[in-house]
Amino acid sequence: MPDLFKTLTLLGLTYLLMSYSFAQEGTQEEAKAQVNSPSEFRQCTDCQSYFHNQEQFAFGEAPHLRGAAPWRTHSVLIFQGGEIVSERYSKETAQNKPHRLWSMTKSISSLLIGIRQQEGGLSLHDPLSKFYPQLLNRPDKRTLTLKHLLTMTSGIDWQEVYEDNPLKSDVIRMLYLKENKDMANFVLTHGQRYRPGEYFSYSSGETNLLMGALKESFSTLEEYQAYPWQKLFSPLNIESAQWETDHAGTFVGSSYLYMTARDLSKIGKLILDQGQYSSPNDAEAEARTLISADYLRQSFLPANASCTTKPEAHSAAFSYGYSWWLNAPCPERPHRKKAFAQLPDDLILALGHHGQTMAIFPSQNAVAVRFGADKKGRFDREKWLEAVYENLNTFIKQQRQSSL
């Protein structure tokens, strides 16, 4: 009998101890969910209500849309003044799942070129033949520089059409047919349609050729393939990034980088901070320069040819910098209409297929990210960004008033 009593007491004690430790674990889990790891931005849950309009529009819930969401938004994230003020995911994705960036990849490729230039590995003024000596025998490409590729003004003959016109598309050949083995060399086989620098023509081939030149600036493939992580992703605590390469090991800079919305917003924040990275939760930590402020300033000035070339259907009336779409007016053409009339001149955009969007609002100290699978091209970015802008302005005004 005492033995049974002892056993029961022991069992009881064990149960109590275990339930206590489970409870401890539970509270720790909850605590983790509330306070993000030091590398993550703070989340302002009280702020979310200011951003309802844009969220309803993005997810197709505005009353006039009658509940239909034909443009398949997967994620929306808005970052303002150091905090995430709006964040939502559809059932297709989640906070911790990387998402395809499609052509937003081009803008991030451009940051890497800037970083490589500041450490002397290449210069935007380098002729492409420095990296591809076979071009020395091609007089039509003699004046072609890396800067031309970065600003889509190489003049290389290229058909930038997609799955709706597959037979004509150089992009489809490059990504899916035998040409995908070495994308940069496929682009090099193309002739010149214009002289370098003369004409703006958005081309996925140019970014992949540029990423090929970046590869050639390293002595080993390993160094090149570690570079984006070493110089950009790891310092920013971006852990979700995956970047597909072709068989020559070249990053598909035109299309194939993946990361979470939170991680992409860290790149937006780096731009707001003019290339300086500081830890989001440690005000004492010293800021590090990841990318020179001067390169970023140059990146957001409209390339001359992007102002003088008549806009093609897919580029609307945007001006274009170092692989970023800009709402900036063209100094040489003051009468040319802005792409997004209601939105600020300093708006900087990374845009991708199926409605992928990152909008950087420097004057509002804000970044807005939208991921989706809008295969039919129904998402109206301009309307969504107008709602974002309006929500941001109301929010900022309110913040100012309450701090008075």
Partner: protein, 96 residues
């Protein structure tokens, strides 16, 4: 699963290809499906149905298999077979 318009579309593209493109072009249907399905499943980790619908274009593939262990997608369409392998090491999927 195959829609009724698939056959005429396939024949149409095949005819067009006889005159204006090389035979290799027929591979685009299976290869784009294999590549985009692979990335959707193994990088984005979306659910298989959503990925199938995302990777499908106007002309659907005839059949496909996913080897979860090898992280390999094999797809067939228009008499051509394509595969795409998830290579890991942050370098995602690629066609062979």
């Amino acid at each position: 699963m195959k829609s009724k318009i698939t056959l005429p579309l396939t024949l149409g593209l095949a005819l067009l290809c006889l005159t204006s493109c090389e035979r290799g072009f027929l591979k685009v249907v299976s290869s784009s499906f294999a590549k985009e399905l692979c990335s959707c499943l193994f990088i984005e980790e979306q659910d298989p149905k959503t990925c199938e619908s995302y990777a499908s274009q106007m002309i659907k593939v005839d059949r496909y298999q996913v080897d979860q262990e090898k992280k390999l997608v094999i797809a067939q369409a228009m008499g051509m077979t394509s595969s795409s392998l998830y290579r890991g090491n942050k370098l995602g999927c690629a066609l062979p």
